[in-house]
């Protein structure tokens, strides 16, 4: 409750201060804003970005149109490269960033790193669940793990919709002591389609992308990668409850501006995002999608990103 109230207060002050601030610094979007989504349409990053765009529009937080543009591929690298290449100093561009855009450069040395953009705000943390198709014989993660351990190495196929999912699968595989086979798709949506079609046996993904299918009972969630169960999914036990020692794994999602953008524009976008995360619509969205609130801005966000970088490198066995 405490952080919420504090951010509500900050919002109040921000609203009062902003008109003066904007005039003093003299920056406002000068043309329609391009909201770059470095992931395919229909995935978690895409849904989130489109909800933020709707809130910005509904609440008239920005005086111009905000247009989402998908630049999918390469675990976010294509979109990040696009921002780094074509929008380097453009203050009318914002980009959706998340754990994947941080992990990709760790795995692929020539991919563009987060240092080429300027992180503005963290807006949420999502959790990970282990999903199987509704007709799978495995009712629990423990049963699934036992079967995976008994099967030959790399014979259990996991669909992944991005590098973060791959990391979650790595964490899970390490915890149960089995070598799992990962098939990479462009988005969580494509991985879901492959699961529904029976082309992969399991997917570790965010509740966000699977809620529709969960409600229709087309897929089944059999384990949660955090300490507590979800209020909305009370029947799904955590990994720890099932005796699987998988590390907790969460993914941050935030917003950045291009690296060459000046302080005035960065401050403008920070204010906009402060307002977005304080809206009722945003809170409702987080609740509907079983995600955690975690607003962080400026230095706090930067420090958080540094800690994540260390964690990811440790998990992936790639120290800096």
């Amino acid at each position: 409750m405490q952080p919420t109230r504090r951010s509500a207060l900050a919002l109040g002050l921000g609203t009062l201060a902003l008109p003066g601030l904007a005039r003093a610094q003299g920056w406002q979007p000068t043309r329609d804003v391009e909201f770059v989504i470095p992931f395919g349409v229909g995935g978690g990053a895409d849904l989130m970005a489109r909800v933020i765009q709707k809130i910005i529009t509904d609440e008239r937080l920005v005086p111009v149109a905000v247009n989402p543009v998908n630049r999918p591929g390469g675990g976010g690298a294509v979109g990040m490269a696009y921002v780094a290449a074509s929008r380097r100093t453009d203050p009318n561009t914002i980009v959706a960033i998340n754990g994947t855009t941080q992990i990709t450069p760790i795995m692929v040395p020539n991919a563009r790193t987060l240092t080429l953009v300027r992180p503005i705000a963290n807006v949420m943390l999502d959790d990970f669940l282990l999903f199987v198709r509704a007709d799978s014989p495995h009712q629990t993660a423990a049963a699934f793990a036992a079967a995976a351990k008994a099967a030959p190495a790399r014979s259990v196929n996991f669909g992944t919709g991005g590098t973060t999912d791959q990391m979650a699968v790595t964490v899970f595989g390490r915890a149960i002591g089995a070598e799992l086979n990962m098939v990479n798709f462009n988005s969580g949506g494509e991985a879901l389609t492959a699961l529904l079609g029976g082309h992969v046996q399991a997917v570790i993904g965010n509740p966000l992308e699977f809620m529709g299918q969960l409600q229709a009972r087309a897929v089944r969630a059999i384990g949660v990668f955090r300490d507590t169960r979800f209020a909305d999914l009370p029947d799904v036990p955590t990994m720890k409850e099932q005796g699987i020692a998988a590390e907790n794994f969460q993914m941050w999602r935030g917003i950045a501006v291009p690296g060459g953008v000046n302080d005035a524009a960065a401050a403008y976008w920070t204010e906009v995002m402060r307002k977005v995360v304080a809206t009722e619509a945003w809170k409702r969205y987080l609740k509907e999608n079983v995600a955690s609130e975690a607003p962080m801005f400026g230095a706090e966000f930067t420090a958080f990103l540094e800690r994540q970088e260390k964690l990811y490198r440790e998990l992936l066995g790639r120290p800096a």
Binding site: G40, V41, G42, D46, L47, R50, V51, Q53, K54, T57, D58, A65, V66, N67, P68, V69, R71, G73, G74, G75, G76, A77, V78, A81, Y82, A84, A85, S86, T104, M107, V108, N110, A111, R154, N157, N181, M182, V183, N184, F185, N186, G189, E190, L192, T193, A194, L196, G197, G198, H199, V200, M211, G212, Q213, Q215, A216, A218
Partner: protein, 488 residues
């Protein structure tokens, strides 16, 4: 029926009209596709109720399939990847003064296919969507292989077709690797990290290349007098079966997530060419080469809505944007949409039938009108065509480098034309390249590197067999024809 009642309210019919009109305009402009148009309109539509917005978006979606045809036929600039095949024979017809017939048959074919596709959507969407799920990475790979083999049949020489197709595939590998994110063939140029956009290559090869070769042939392209403003009875006789086949092909291929209208349009073209009594007419203004692909790309637009409405999985880039819009309107896409949001879904389907009718009524008179545009000599049309090409390419990514690429590939297009190399395979190779590569790598991951996976799965094996037949039958026929002559 409740859906029709909902769709027939004056407000919804107006939305439908607005949608198809906008869609048509957007389809004409190269560079702005339906997904961009819908994304641009999204913020404006938040005040609307979800049904009205969905009807508007769907209207834009299939309206654009009509609009793309116009530039393909009149000035040989396909605005969408799904109208590349149309431009081959459509433009030749225009040069023969038969642009009106080409546009007319495209409108009629699109109407029939759109209607059939919508009926298909009404009747068999849920079971069909389940079947589409059987398509995993190996099946996509084999489908793309089938498509690529079909490319070779475009143009006068199989060898030239294959070379152009492979060149397109190779161009498609430029930029960042879709699987792991490594940069490839970027020559240290950051702007090449995005690879080469489809629209740049298409506008360059087709549009600019045609203008350059027209200018080079000093005596400007002789355009026959504008003859038939509308299709004749004979045109209809030739086109009715291609339209029927194109509708079925388009709907079925459109249902598969991620393939959509582009593959559908060239599969339809190839089928017509293979079935034709005199295949040599293709590429020289055969009306079947317009009717089949046009029917199929419209049917595919309906087909792509099948996985979206019954599974909540987008079937194409545009339906993905529509899906995103639905989420913002508070409609959660998923397998239960047909039951939980039945009135919305049925209103959409009803509006598609109405929208197709509006498009037909709007386009038949327009076909004649646009055909008369060609009474203006081509030499006068060249400057505005070049302007359209440059503006379209620049507006895609606001990138001046893309304009230089346009000039470079425009010269390539001119040379290809001079030496009779087909351009469609190159463009389609570029479009299919990422799908081809991704599906192949995913399949090999599934099989731990064993290529047998492509033949071990029955669907995939079947598609590969079709591909093999498409290659071998003409060769065998050729050998058979040559045999007696060598005996003699």
């Amino acid at each position: 029926m409740a859906g029709f009642a909902a769709a027939l309210t004056p407000g919804h019919v107006a939305m439908c009209f607005l949608g198809v009109l906008l869609g048509q305009v957007v389809g004409v402009l190269p560079g702005i596709g339906p997904s961009a148009a819908i994304a641009l309109l999204l913020p404006i539509t938040f005040g609307l109720e979800p049904t009205a917005a969905l009807i508007l978006f769907a209207g834009i979606y299939y309206g654009s399939q009509y609009g793309g045809t116009l530039t393909s036929v009149l000035i040989s600039v396909p605005g969408e990847s799904s109208t590349v095949m149309t431009s081959i024979d459509g433009y030749q017809m225009a040069l023969q003064g038969r642009a009106g017939a080409a546009l007319g048959i495209a409108a009629i074919g699109s109407f029939i296919a759109g209607t059939l596709g919508t009926i298909g959507l009404m009747l068999i969407a849920p079971p069909l969507a389940k079947m589409a799920l059987a398509f995993g990475p190996p099946e996509y790979f084999s489908l793309v292989v089938l498509g690529l083999v079909a490319l070779a049949a475009v143009g006068s020489s199989v060898l030239k077709g294959l070379v152009a197709g492979v060149a397109g595939l190779a161009l498609g590998t430029m930029g960042i690797d879709p699987q792991v994110g490594t940069a490839r063939y970027d020559f240290g140029q950051i702007w090449l990290l995005d690879g080469i956009e489809f629209i740049v290559l298409t506008v360059a090869l087709f549009g600019l290349g045609e203008v350059l070769s027209g200018c080079a042939d000093a005596a400007a392209r002789p355009v026959a007098k504008v003859k038939d403003v509308l299709p004749t009875r004979e045109d209809w006789q030739r086109s009715k079966w291609p339209i029927a086949r194109g509708s079925v092909i388009g709907f079925v291929i459109g249902v598969l997530p991620a393939t959509g209208a582009t593959i559908a349009s060239f599969v339809a073209y190839i089928v017509e060419k293979k079935l034709a009594r005199d295949p040599s007419r293709f590429g020289k203004g055969a009306i079947e080469g317009v009717a089949g692909p046009e029917a199929s790309n419209n049917a595919a637009a309906s087909g792509a809505l099948v996985p979206m409405l019954s599974l909540g999985v987008p079937g194409s880039g545009t339906t993905a944007v529509i899906l995103g819009a639905l989420i913002m309107f508070g409609v959660r896409p998923g397998p239960e949409m047909f039951t939980t949001n039945a009135s919305l879904v049925w209103a959409l389907i009803a509006s598609m039938l109405i929208g197709n009718l509006i498009l037909l009524v709007m386009n038949l008179p327009l076909a004649g009108l646009f055909a008369r545009l060609l009474s203006v000599p081509y030499s006068w049309l060249y400057p505005p065509i070049i302007a359209l090409c440059i503006a379209g390419v620049y507006s895609q990514a606001n990138s001046i480098e893309d304009c230089w690429l346009l000039v470079g590939f425009g010269l390539v297009g001119w040379m290809m034309r001079r030496h009779d190399w087909p351009m469609a395979p190159m463009v389609l190779g570029l479009v299919l390249s990422p799908l081809f590569e991704t599906a192949m790598r995913q399949s090999l991951t599934l099989s731990l590197g064993d290529p047998a996976i492509f033949v071990a799965r029955p669907l995939s094996a079947g598609l590969l067999a079709c591909a093999a037949l498409a290659l071998l039958v003409p060769l065998a026929a050729l050998a058979w024809q040559r045999r007696p002559s060598s005996v003699r």
